[in-house]
Symmetry: C2
Subunit: 114 residues, 2 copies
Protein backbone atom coordinates (compact mmCIF):
# COMPACT_ATOMS: atom_id res chain seq x y z
CA UNK A 1 0.00 0.00 0.00
CA UNK A 2 1.13 3.48 -0.80
CA UNK A 3 -0.94 6.54 0.16
CA UNK A 4 0.11 10.13 -0.37
CA UNK A 5 -1.59 13.50 -0.72
CA UNK A 6 -0.69 14.91 -4.11
CA UNK A 7 0.16 18.29 -2.58
CA UNK A 8 3.03 16.58 -0.75
CA UNK A 9 4.55 15.49 -4.08
CA UNK A 10 6.74 18.11 -5.79
CA UNK A 11 5.31 19.80 -8.90
CA UNK A 12 7.72 19.35 -11.82
CA UNK A 13 7.81 21.30 -15.06
CA UNK A 14 5.98 19.19 -17.63
CA UNK A 15 7.39 20.46 -20.92
CA UNK A 16 4.86 23.21 -21.60
CA UNK A 17 4.66 26.81 -20.37
CA UNK A 18 2.46 26.93 -17.25
CA UNK A 19 2.07 23.16 -16.97
CA UNK A 20 3.38 21.07 -14.10
CA UNK A 21 2.97 17.46 -13.04
CA UNK A 22 3.08 15.78 -9.64
CA UNK A 23 3.95 12.09 -10.18
CA UNK A 24 1.94 10.50 -7.40
CA UNK A 25 2.18 6.85 -8.53
CA UNK A 26 4.98 5.49 -10.66
CA UNK A 27 7.45 2.60 -10.82
CA UNK A 28 9.01 3.94 -7.61
CA UNK A 29 5.82 3.01 -5.76
CA UNK A 30 5.71 -0.45 -7.32
CA UNK A 31 3.40 0.23 -10.25
CA UNK A 32 4.19 -2.00 -13.20
CA UNK A 33 1.55 -1.12 -15.80
CA UNK A 34 0.61 2.54 -15.66
CA UNK A 35 1.47 5.75 -13.84
CA UNK A 36 -0.63 8.52 -12.32
CA UNK A 37 0.20 12.18 -12.05
CA UNK A 38 -1.69 15.34 -11.18
CA UNK A 39 -1.44 17.91 -13.96
CA UNK A 40 -1.77 21.58 -13.04
CA UNK A 41 -2.23 24.12 -15.83
CA UNK A 42 -2.04 27.82 -15.00
CA UNK A 43 -4.92 30.18 -15.89
CA UNK A 44 -4.76 31.40 -19.49
CA UNK A 45 -2.26 28.74 -20.56
CA UNK A 46 -2.58 26.24 -23.38
CA UNK A 47 -0.48 23.15 -24.02
CA UNK A 48 0.99 22.52 -27.47
CA UNK A 49 -1.10 20.59 -29.97
CA UNK A 50 0.80 17.31 -29.70
CA UNK A 51 0.57 13.54 -29.92
CA UNK A 52 2.36 10.46 -28.55
CA UNK A 53 2.06 6.72 -28.68
CA UNK A 54 0.77 6.20 -25.15
CA UNK A 55 -2.91 6.48 -24.32
CA UNK A 56 -4.07 9.13 -21.87
CA UNK A 57 -6.90 9.00 -19.37
CA UNK A 58 -7.79 12.14 -17.40
CA UNK A 59 -10.19 13.17 -14.70
CA UNK A 60 -10.74 16.87 -13.98
CA UNK A 61 -11.25 17.74 -10.31
CA UNK A 62 -10.61 21.51 -10.20
CA UNK A 63 -10.96 24.43 -12.60
CA UNK A 64 -12.38 24.71 -16.08
CA UNK A 65 -11.04 24.62 -19.59
CA UNK A 66 -11.25 22.83 -22.88
CA UNK A 67 -9.63 20.00 -24.76
CA UNK A 68 -9.02 20.26 -28.50
CA UNK A 69 -8.42 17.41 -30.94
CA UNK A 70 -8.88 17.15 -34.73
CA UNK A 71 -12.46 16.15 -33.89
CA UNK A 72 -13.20 19.54 -32.33
CA UNK A 73 -13.29 21.37 -29.01
CA UNK A 74 -14.99 20.14 -25.84
CA UNK A 75 -15.39 22.04 -22.57
CA UNK A 76 -14.15 20.33 -19.43
CA UNK A 77 -14.90 20.96 -15.75
CA UNK A 78 -14.79 19.02 -12.47
CA UNK A 79 -16.19 15.56 -13.12
CA UNK A 80 -15.04 15.31 -16.75
CA UNK A 81 -13.40 12.02 -17.72
CA UNK A 82 -11.30 12.28 -20.88
CA UNK A 83 -9.80 9.57 -23.08
CA UNK A 84 -7.14 10.37 -25.70
CA UNK A 85 -6.18 7.41 -27.85
CA UNK A 86 -2.71 6.48 -29.03
CA UNK A 87 -1.44 8.92 -31.64
CA UNK A 88 -4.36 11.32 -31.31
CA UNK A 89 -3.37 15.00 -31.38
CA UNK A 90 -4.62 16.94 -28.38
CA UNK A 91 -4.31 20.23 -26.55
CA UNK A 92 -5.56 21.48 -23.19
CA UNK A 93 -6.47 25.08 -22.32
CA UNK A 94 -7.28 26.62 -18.96
CA UNK A 95 -10.20 29.02 -19.43
CA UNK A 96 -10.72 29.79 -15.74
CA UNK A 97 -9.21 32.07 -13.11
CA UNK A 98 -7.63 29.26 -11.08
CA UNK A 99 -5.54 26.17 -11.73
CA UNK A 100 -6.97 23.49 -14.00
CA UNK A 101 -6.19 20.30 -12.08
CA UNK A 102 -6.54 16.85 -13.60
CA UNK A 103 -5.61 13.32 -12.67
CA UNK A 104 -3.60 11.96 -15.60
CA UNK A 105 -2.95 8.26 -16.15
CA UNK A 106 -0.71 6.78 -18.81
CA UNK A 107 0.68 3.42 -19.73
CA UNK A 108 4.35 2.72 -19.03
CA UNK A 109 4.73 1.29 -22.53
CA UNK A 110 5.74 2.18 -25.15
CA UNK A 111 6.88 5.50 -23.66
CA UNK A 112 7.81 5.35 -19.96
CA UNK A 113 6.65 8.31 -17.90
CA UNK A 114 9.29 10.88 -16.97
Amino acid sequence: MYVKDYLNVPAEAAGSDGLSARWVINATQGATNFAMCIYELQPGKTTPFHQHDHEHEFFVFEGKGQVTTPEGVVEISPGSAIFISSGEQHQFSNLGDSLLRMVGVMSFAPIPPK
Copy 2:
Protein backbone atom coordinates in the same frame (compact mmCIF):
# COMPACT_ATOMS: atom_id res chain seq x y z
CA MET B 1 -11.33 11.93 -28.03
CA TYR B 2 -13.98 10.94 -25.57
CA VAL B 3 -15.22 13.34 -22.86
CA LYS B 4 -18.01 12.60 -20.42
CA ASP B 5 -19.09 13.81 -17.00
CA TYR B 6 -19.03 10.83 -14.66
CA LEU B 7 -22.49 11.73 -13.31
CA ASN B 8 -23.87 10.99 -16.78
CA VAL B 9 -22.56 7.42 -16.60
CA PRO B 10 -24.84 4.94 -14.76
CA ALA B 11 -23.73 3.76 -11.33
CA GLU B 12 -23.55 -0.04 -11.26
CA ALA B 13 -23.43 -2.31 -8.24
CA ALA B 14 -19.80 -3.19 -7.66
CA GLY B 15 -20.02 -6.42 -5.71
CA SER B 16 -20.02 -4.97 -2.20
CA ASP B 17 -22.87 -3.59 -0.08
CA GLY B 18 -23.04 0.19 -0.56
CA LEU B 19 -20.42 0.29 -3.32
CA SER B 20 -21.09 1.34 -6.91
CA ALA B 21 -18.91 2.04 -9.92
CA ARG B 22 -19.37 4.31 -12.91
CA TRP B 23 -17.20 2.97 -15.75
CA VAL B 24 -16.18 6.21 -17.43
CA ILE B 25 -13.37 4.86 -19.66
CA ASN B 26 -13.18 1.28 -20.84
CA ALA B 27 -12.65 -0.77 -24.00
CA THR B 28 -15.91 0.71 -25.32
CA GLN B 29 -14.21 4.10 -25.49
CA GLY B 30 -11.14 2.67 -27.22
CA ALA B 31 -8.91 2.13 -24.21
CA THR B 32 -6.56 -0.80 -24.72
CA ASN B 33 -4.42 -0.87 -21.58
CA PHE B 34 -6.36 0.23 -18.52
CA ALA B 35 -9.83 1.32 -17.48
CA MET B 36 -11.12 4.11 -15.26
CA CYS B 37 -14.19 4.12 -13.06
CA ILE B 38 -15.56 6.33 -10.32
CA TYR B 39 -16.19 4.36 -7.15
CA GLU B 40 -18.85 5.61 -4.74
CA LEU B 41 -19.02 4.11 -1.26
CA GLN B 42 -21.97 4.95 0.97
CA PRO B 43 -21.43 6.45 4.46
CA GLY B 44 -20.74 3.80 7.10
CA LYS B 45 -19.97 1.09 4.55
CA THR B 46 -16.84 -1.02 4.29
CA THR B 47 -15.73 -3.20 1.38
CA PRO B 48 -14.63 -6.79 2.00
CA PHE B 49 -10.97 -7.41 2.77
CA HIS B 50 -10.04 -8.81 -0.63
CA GLN B 51 -7.30 -9.19 -3.20
CA HIS B 52 -6.92 -9.70 -6.95
CA ASP B 53 -4.19 -9.94 -9.51
CA HIS B 54 -4.66 -6.53 -11.10
CA GLU B 55 -3.03 -3.43 -9.68
CA HIS B 56 -5.21 -0.59 -8.46
CA GLU B 57 -4.56 3.13 -8.53
CA PHE B 58 -7.02 5.48 -6.82
CA PHE B 59 -7.48 9.20 -6.34
CA VAL B 60 -9.95 10.45 -3.72
CA PHE B 61 -11.88 13.59 -4.70
CA GLU B 62 -14.83 13.60 -2.25
CA GLY B 63 -15.48 12.34 1.25
CA LYS B 64 -13.27 10.76 3.85
CA GLY B 65 -12.42 7.28 4.94
CA GLN B 66 -9.63 4.81 5.39
CA VAL B 67 -7.84 2.06 3.53
CA THR B 68 -6.71 -1.07 5.34
CA THR B 69 -4.08 -3.56 4.19
CA PRO B 70 -1.92 -6.07 6.12
CA GLU B 71 0.50 -3.15 6.56
CA GLY B 72 -2.03 -1.18 8.60
CA VAL B 73 -4.68 1.52 8.33
CA VAL B 74 -4.27 4.88 6.58
CA GLU B 75 -6.78 7.74 6.51
CA ILE B 76 -7.81 9.05 3.10
CA SER B 77 -9.42 12.33 2.04
CA PRO B 78 -9.67 14.49 -1.08
CA GLY B 79 -6.23 14.58 -2.68
CA SER B 80 -5.12 11.13 -1.54
CA ALA B 81 -3.46 9.00 -4.23
CA ILE B 82 -3.46 5.29 -3.38
CA PHE B 83 -1.56 2.40 -4.94
CA ILE B 84 -2.50 -1.23 -4.21
CA SER B 85 -0.12 -3.75 -5.75
CA SER B 86 -1.04 -7.04 -7.41
CA GLY B 87 -2.25 -9.58 -4.84
CA GLU B 88 -2.26 -7.14 -1.94
CA GLN B 89 -5.25 -7.50 0.38
CA HIS B 90 -7.16 -4.26 0.85
CA GLN B 91 -10.37 -2.79 2.21
CA PHE B 92 -11.98 0.66 1.99
CA SER B 93 -14.22 2.25 4.62
CA ASN B 94 -16.28 5.42 4.43
CA LEU B 95 -15.93 7.27 7.75
CA GLY B 96 -17.80 10.41 6.71
CA ASP B 97 -21.39 11.56 6.37
CA SER B 98 -21.37 11.73 2.57
CA LEU B 99 -20.27 9.54 -0.33
CA LEU B 100 -16.61 8.57 -0.52
CA ARG B 101 -15.80 9.15 -4.19
CA MET B 102 -12.62 7.93 -5.81
CA VAL B 103 -11.22 7.65 -9.30
CA GLY B 104 -10.18 4.01 -9.74
CA VAL B 105 -7.85 2.81 -12.47
CA MET B 106 -7.01 -0.79 -13.21
CA SER B 107 -5.17 -2.75 -15.85
CA PHE B 108 -7.19 -4.72 -18.39
CA ALA B 109 -4.91 -7.70 -17.83
CA PRO B 110 -4.90 -10.25 -16.35
CA ILE B 111 -8.47 -9.61 -15.14
CA PRO B 112 -10.59 -7.52 -17.51
CA PRO B 113 -12.80 -4.93 -15.80
CA LYS B 114 -16.51 -5.72 -15.61
